[in-house]
Amino acid sequence: MHKWEYVIRRLAMAVVVLASVSIITFVIARIIPSDPAAAWVGSHPTQEQIAKARQQLGLDRPLYEQYLRYMRSLLRGDLGTSVRSHQPVATDLKTFLPATMELVLAGMVMAIVIGIPLGVLSGARKGGPLDHVTRLFSIAGVSMPTFWLGLLLQLLFFKRLGLLPLGSRVSTEIALYHPVTRITGFYLVDTAVTGNWVAFKDALNHIILPAFTLGTYAIGLTIRMTRSTMIEVLNEKYILAARVSGLPERTVLFVLALKNAIIPTITVLGLSFVYSLTGALLVEVIFSWPGLGTYVTNAVLSIDFPVIVSVTLVVAVFYVFINLFLDLVQAMIDPRVTLQ
């Protein structure tokens, strides 16, 4: 009984929160001094053109009416039309979202592949040389300004070593001679699935630096979290028992201990994922990555009002549902939560 009540209450709250988010974003975007009608028409518009555009875009109606109109079309799946590109925002999102997702996920993969083992080992050998080095690395990771790191990596790997490309997702040659067939929008997936290995290698080359730059924060956070929970877990009696009974250290660490340390670590991963969505903004600018970050940054700086509102809303929906999901899962597991 309690649990269902809780679920329903949280769902209702989520809806309220989303509604308020939409109102706030709408209002903020309208406060920004600009003239969407003029922006829509382009450079050197005439008075008639602006007036006409204002009418067509519904900008002469009162604010609440504009908001309702916006919400109504939202429910139909129409996220508005960009004032700059004259494209439906939904189409633009379809184009740019996969690029960002691929980047963020690649960063998370790095966080898991690099962060967890390092965290485990570092926690196991607490106080040792590896531990110190790892701790330094991890704390450097969370202190590093992403845009600066990106520049440094470009300087090193592109300019000095000539190993990796400067930016974008694929090189022009590949786009012309071995184009990527767009299935999911994830180049690594699409090229692998169609057996286009030349393009796969090229796409991989292009994603390494930006993914690492984006993932640095997540890597640092993961190491720290894994390490600290590892330390706690390793002090438990059952670990001592396992060691005493002769289990190889590798098993003790990566199977027994990790299993229990993994849970808070996954929390951190989830949080890093969400943080990376916004970190992607800066990384994409530096690496000319044609994703949501570039799209949104340009929209905010050029005050493309429909884009700002819709994208903020979309990302907010993501956030709210992740939080809701986590809340609900916790409610299922931990009865104390619902009794509050």
Binding site: S34, L176, D327
Partner: protein, 551 residues
């Protein structure tokens, strides 16, 4: 931040991926808000066709243009922006404005010759025969009539250049006659960089703006659009049936790579991945010019930068103060230090190279003594006031302009506050009550078709409702001068030129604006690309048909 949660963030992530993949399936029908044409449901973009990888014998010549911005509109009746680099390769106009230094002002393209009556109110164009559109339809007078009337009807973008046209008459298959309600230089108008393209009536009627914006073309030009990956690149390929025919060495394909980062553009042109580009990081031009494998073309464009002064707000309502300001800007130092080869100091509001420009007009120079004198005369011997200057946020040249000027004005006791703003925000501010608006508005201007009227009218003609006359200037004498000159442009160009020059003198005397610089165009090309002739009438457009790839 610590959250005491027990997750299954793994599940959450998985859910996200599923949700994401689901978005690939939903196709919301796009609602056109401008175009009256019924829009078709977005067709799935065809899978890009791989180009044949270069073999020894049949290596296709590919021209790669690393372009700094993306392309909003590919509809020829509407397009009014950087898309002209694409459009000009796919569509053609009746006449063509020749690059500076040519023998004649205009060249025939879709019109082989033309004539006008004495008052320039009737224009007859004789059209080229044997031309077909890329969709197979024949090019004729009907098509021209349709294109121009349709563009006028939609009234977007630069369509106003056809305002003088009252009727369009099809005399026969290859002759068309325009009757104007007032005299206008229609031969110049027909050569405009926007709103003057001729497109296939059949295709335009059948398809809609959506179809064009997906990456399709229905013109008479030498290239047609093959594939468009929004945000990344657009590929054009040869129109084999082009009326001009093809010779060896010409390019088979054009690839427009959208590269917003100037660092990457520079890298591409250096590596040879791009054949052509512009706007590298500003201070790197000398290094690029020094390279053997690159050619840097620096030519005057028809774009200039002005600082419009708020003539309605004290102290700038005083002519003497405005003149003082005009003497306070460090022109030489700014050009030398910041712009270097990219610009020259402006000589009035009409840029160098355009007809109607005159080097005999008074040009203000950096003279702090004179400025002080004028200020004293005006009653501000030690300055003592504050000014707000707005410029385009993100534009480093404009920002440095502000920073340099601030230092010099400080020497006169004037405090200059510089504020980078988004263009619409700036414009909004300047269109509000002049007492609350900025004091100096820094902005670029460029013409829609080649005439001084574009500059002199748009920015300085009296306006009831302020549009671009952001200095709020109003002088009936000036208005009359330029209006008459405009009407004479078609019939008596020499007289028109004189009158335009007179008008500029008035503006300069009244110090309505500062004329900072005439922006040069700097384009960079690989040396193995020959035949490029910079043409400021079509900014940044490369007519790839005229180029050949040397080996």
């Amino acid at each position: 931040m610590d959250r005491e949660r027990y997750p299954s963030s793994v599940l959450a992530v998985g859910l996200l991926i599923v949700a994401l993949l689901a978005t690939q399936c939903t196709t919301p029908t796009p609602q056109p808000t401008v175009e009256e044409k019924p829009a078709e449901v977005a067709e799935a973009t065809a899978a890009p066709q791989p180009t044949e990888p270069p073999t020894a014998e049949a290596a296709p010549n590919i021209f790669v243009y690393a372009h700094p911005t993306s392309f909003p509109d590919l509809d020829p009746a509407i397009s009014y922006s950087n898309d002209s680099v694409i459009m000009s390769n796919c569509y053609e106009t009746l006449t063509f404005y020749n690059p500076p230094g040519s023998d004649t002002l205009l060249a025939p393209v879709l019109a082989t010759d033309w004539e006008t009556n004495e008052e320039a109110t009737e224009w007859t164009f004789h059209l080229r025969q044997g031309v077909t559109f890329q969709d197979g339809e024949p090019f004729n007078a009907e098509a021209v009539k349709y294109s121009i009337e349709k563009t006028k009807e939609l009234g977007v973008g630069a369509a106003y250049i056809w305002d003088a046209v009252e009727t369009v008459e099809v005399v026969d298959e290859s002759t068309i006659k325009f009757k104007l309600s007032y005299p206008a230089p229609l031969d110049l108008v027909a050569s405009a960089g926007y709103a003057a393209w001729i497109y296939s009536p059949k295709t335009y009627e059948q398809k809609g703006t959506e179809w064009f914006n997906e990456g399709h073309c229905a013109g008479t030009g030498p290239y047609t659009i093959e594939n468009y990956e929004r945000g990344s690149r657009l590929v054009m390929t040869r129109n084999e049936n082009y009326w001009g025919g093809w010779r060896a060495g010409q390019f088979d394909k054009i690839v427009f790579e959208i590269v917003e980062d100037p660092v990457v553009r520079q890298q591409m042109i250096e590596a040879g991945t791009a054949s052509f580009t512009y706007e590298p990081p500003p201070d790197n031009l000398p290094a690029l010019a020094a390279r053997d494998d690159l050619v840097v073309y620096t030519n005057p464009s028809y774009q200039n930068l002005l600082g419009l002064l708020n003539t309605h707000k004290p102290p700038l309502d005083n002519k003497l103060v405005r003149q003082a300001l005009s003497y306070s800007f460090p022109y030489a130092q700014f050009i030398e230090g910041v712009m270097q080869d990219r610009a020259t100091q402006a000589h009035g509001p009409v840029p160098a190279g355009m007809w109607g420009h005159s080097d005999d007009l008074l040009q203000y120079s950096y003279d702090l003594e004179k400025a002080k004198q004028l200020l004293a005369e005006a009653g501000y011997p030690d300055g003592g006031f504050k000014l707000l200057l707005t410029y385009a946020a993100g534009d480093l040249d404009e920002q440095q302009l502000g920073e340099l000027w601030k230092a010099d004005l400080a020497k006169l006791g004037i405090e200059l506050e510089i504020q980078g703003m988004n263009w619409e925000a700036q414009w909004d501010l300047s269109k509000s009550d002049p007492q609350n608006a900025q004091d100096v508005l820094v902005m670029y201007w460029w013409p829609d078709y080649i005439s001084p009227y574009s500059f002199l009218y748009s920015m300085f003609h009296s306006e009831e409702e302020i549009l671009f006359n952001l200095a709020y200037y109003s002088s009936p004498e000036y208005d009359q001068l330029i209006d008459t000159a405009y009407e004479l442009s078609g019939s008596d160009r020499a007289k028109a030129t004189d009158m335009f020059i007179q008008a500029q003198q008035i503006l300069i005397d009244d110090a309505v604006s500062l004329y900072f610089y005439d922006l040069g165009n700097t384009h960079i090309a690989r040396t193995n690309v020959t035949g490029y002739a910079d043409n400021p009438a079509y900014p940044h457009v490369v007519f790839v048909y005229q180029l050949t790839q040397a080996e």
